[in-house]
Amino acid sequence: MKRIIGVLIVLSLALIFLQLDYSKVEGGSYEYYILHWQEVNVPNLVMAILADWRAYDSIGEATLLFTAVSGFYLLLGGKKK
């Protein structure tokens, strides 16, 4: 029973990932970043992209580290002998 549920979850995830739109946008986001740079009021364009427009990306990175730390703690941490 557990295996069937696992296979169903994996298959549905695969379906969702296959249906996403990976086609290239004409022109890209490059021009938008250059034109709207003044709105963020930050001289460092890399940091403006990372911490303002793509803050979701950075928070995902922080979540990944948090998951790694909690996984390590659950597996290897525990009570000290």
Partner: protein, 140 residues
């Protein structure tokens, strides 16, 4: 495990400068090259350098296991809170603190706060991982 006197003296001399450099990268991340993640890695290296030269048992007394965990989780919570306060003003991670001249330290709104939170989080997380691995190795 202890290394020789030369190594111990040098690492003691170098690691405060590494902490200073990490703080500079965090606070000035929106003006100069650098940013939160790099600052956090350097912050973790300053502790890991002390662990390799002085041994885990001695470093653990100064940088306590629980405190590192508390720093890690509280900076994660503050990171989400910065995003959630923006919801009141218009959207998740909306830049609500607009002020300061272009190019000054106080410009950029939430970007410096975000950098500081990410830096503390990454530094504490890497130190925590090292602590857990060392504790596991030494318990055998």
């Amino acid at each position: 495990m202890k290394m020789s006197t030369v190594v111990r003296t040098t690492t003691k001399l170098v690691s405060p400068f590494l902490v200073t450099y990490a703080a500079y990268l965090m606070v000035y991340g929106h003006l100069s090259p650098g940013g939160g993640f790099q600052a956090g890695v350097i912050l973790a290296v300053s502790v890991i350098l002390l662990i390799t030269s002085h041994g885990y048992k001695k470093v653990r007394k100064r940088f306590k296991f629980k405190e590192v965990g508390i720093i890690e989780s509280s900076s994660a919570v503050s990171l989400v809170c910065i995003g959630l306060v923006g919801v009141l003003f218009g959207g998740f991670f909306y830049n609500f603190l607009n002020g300061g001249k272009f190019g000054s330290l106080l410009s950029g709104g939430i970007v410096p706060l975000f950098n500081i939170a990410v830096g503390l989080k990454v530094g504490a997380a890497f130190t925590f991982l090292f602590y857990i691995l060392l504790r596991w190795v030494e318990s055998d």
